[in-house]
């Protein structure tokens, strides 16, 4: 069962979080993500949860991590400048394996840039923005419906893999209103139980340790320092560091093909578009307007970890065309994985690629 709504993307994101059992929101207002906070401020108290507007984004993500350890599904939402401020504590969440969801409704950067215009300029930042070697998960919704469903999914991934999961939407998807079928119930995962309480950070062969929620008697020590299986600092032992950080990296990277979600159209095409977020809508429109051309389309719903398997879905591909609302960020990643030319179609400033514009570029390759 489901019901139809006419929601804004940001509303759908907040409602998805609530449906996923999110009961803590800590954040700081910033355009164009603010509607998420505002929706949570209204809804969480009614759902028995807690909304807190912190003094800044650093505090926002800190409170979310704290709440997660207290056993709550917890999230924050922000945009570029706030995202930049969160980078240190995002690293802490990765190092301490704290499940949480961080929504970035991307606007035009760098700096304060264009607060009300759409961009996808933070796609590499979410991968590389915190110091040290990290590997988070990032999802990219392209519709109001996906703002809902991918948010639910983000909470599940966060709990399963014990990592921060990013929703890397853009202002267009966050602010537009459209039809959404809201399911009555969503599927929820749980955090793994602790196996060996004396070694709470010891992981099995899935590389993921159980979660020792605060208040349950585990007396767990959680630190952002390099730590051993007990959670105790051990900062000058190279082997221990290598073991820990490699595990943190691999627990996500080794299952990247499982985590990575994508949709394909016309997989036997020679000309293949790759896209995510709002530009995917332009590509879809173009494909719709030119059914005769049989153009391929790979729409990414997960960008990080990047599961290169998605590229092999297009065995005949001779060129990848990749419109992004940035100067070609994920195109750079694709270039690493293929010998086929990757043509970046960058667009910044807030406008979305026009289907017509994409068609004109396509024609050159047909």
């Amino acid at each position: 069962m489901s019901r139809v709504e006419f929601w804004q993307g940001n509303t759908a994101c907040a409602e998805g979080a609530l449906a996923a059992g999110c009961r803590f929101f800590g954040g700081y207002p910033i355009t164009p993500s603010t509607e998420i906070a505002e929706h949570m401020a209204r809804s969480l108290p009614k759902a028995g949860g807690v909304f807190v507007q912190m003094e800044d984004e650093i505090g926002g993500i800190a409170s979310v991590i704290g709440a997660s350890w207290a056993g709550k599904r917890a999230m924050t939402a922000t945009s570029g400048p706030g995202f930049s401020l969160m980078m240190e504590n995002i690293g802490f969440a990765l190092m301490t394996e704290t499940p949480c969801v961080i929504v970035n409704i991307q606007r035009g950067g760098p700096s304060t840039g264009q607060p009300t215009m759409a961009g996808q300029g933070d796609m590499l930042q979410c991968r590389y923005g915190s110091h040290g070697d990290i590997s988070p998960i990032a999802l990219v919704p392209a519709s109001v419906e996906e703002m809902y469903s991918l948010t639910v999914h983000a909470f599940n991934l966060a709990d399963i893999y014990r990592v921060p999961v990013f929703i890397m939407a853009d202002e267009i998807i966050g602010h537009m209103r459209e039809r959404i079928e809201v399911p009555d119930k969503v599927q929820l995962s749980e955090r793994k139980p602790v196996i060996d309480p004396t070694h709470p950070f010891r992981a099995g062969c899935d590389l993921i340790p159980g979660f020792p929620t605060f208040g349950k008697g585990y007396a767990v020590h959680v630190t952002g320092l390099t730590h051993d299986d007990r959670g105790y600092p051990c900062t000058t032992n190279p082997e221990m560091h290598e073991k820990l950080v490699t595990r943190l990296f691999n627990k996500v990277e080794s299952v990247r093909d499982e985590i990575s979600l994508f949709e394909t159209i016309n997989t036997d095409s020679k000309v293949v578009f790759i896209s995510y977020g709002a530009p995917a809508r332009a590509v879809e429109q173009m494909l719709h307007d030119h059914p005769e051309a049989q153009i391929g389309h790979l729409r990414l719903k997960t960008v990080w970890p990047f599961g290169e398997r998605c590229l092999s879905q297009f065995p005949n591909a001779e060129v990848f065309l990749f419109p992004e609302l940035n100067l070609g960020q994920i195109s750079r990643e694709i270039e690493r994985h293929t010998r086929i030319p990757v043509i970046s179609i960058p667009k910044i400033g807030g406008n979305l690629h026009l289907p017509q514009e994409l068609w004109e570029i396509t024609e050159r390759y047909l």
């Binding site: 139809v4 709504e5 006419f6 607060p115 009300t116 209103r177 459209e178 039809r179 719709h288």
Partner: protein
């Protein structure tokens, strides 16, 4: 049946709300598809605010309005910024109480603000008057759907007022 609708006026007129009501009417009650977008940006405060709605019987892929065929214009600046370049066979509804210019393209003049003030002593419902007129003229959503969407969207206690405004719009548009 794709229609691209653009609404413009100044801040406080309820331009955004109007767009949402139309989208809601289409999606929730006419069971078709709609996408609503708008211009944010601090510059919109003093100047012209703009919102857009696409309506279609099939799912809408490209979410941005490319070439609107229907306009609702409620301020002079809104006309200059968002209405002037209207394409030939488009239809424009103009609040003639506030907009001085006129396009060379088909248009209907609705003195929404003056009439709202005269009839209800409340300028604020001028946008609903315009919505009534819009639906009357263009039929992009059914009057029934419009009514339900208005009832969903307006503050408690103002339902009657707003429905009367809608009907005034029907009337002013020759209904």
């Amino acid at each position: 049946m794709r229609h691209e609708l653009r609404l413009s006026g100044f801040g406080g007129q309820g331009i955004m709300l109007s767009a949402v009501i139309i989208g809601r009417a289409a999606v929730m009650y006419d069971k078709i598809f709609a996408v609503q977008t708008q211009v944010y940006g601090p510059e919109a405060r003093g100047g012209a605010s703009m919102s857009a709605v696409i309506i279609d019987s099939i799912p809408i892929l490209y979410p941005k309005v490319r070439e609107p065929d229907i306009f609702v214009i409620m301020s002079e600046e809104g006309f200059l910024k968002y209405g002037k370049g209207a394409k030939e066979n488009s239809m424009m509804l103009i609040d003639s109480s506030l907009v001085y210019s006129r396009p060379g393209t088909p248009h209907v003049l609705i003195p929404a603000t003056t009439e709202a003030r005269r009839v209800f002593k409340r300028d604020i419902v001028a946008n609903i008057v315009m919505l009534g007129a819009l639906v009357k003229v263009t039929k992009i959503v059914t009057p029934d759907a419009l009514e339900k969407a208005i009832l969903d969207s307006v503050p408690k206690g103002t339902e009657e007022l707003n429905l009367s405004a809608m009907k005034l719009g029907f009337t002013l548009a020759g209904g």
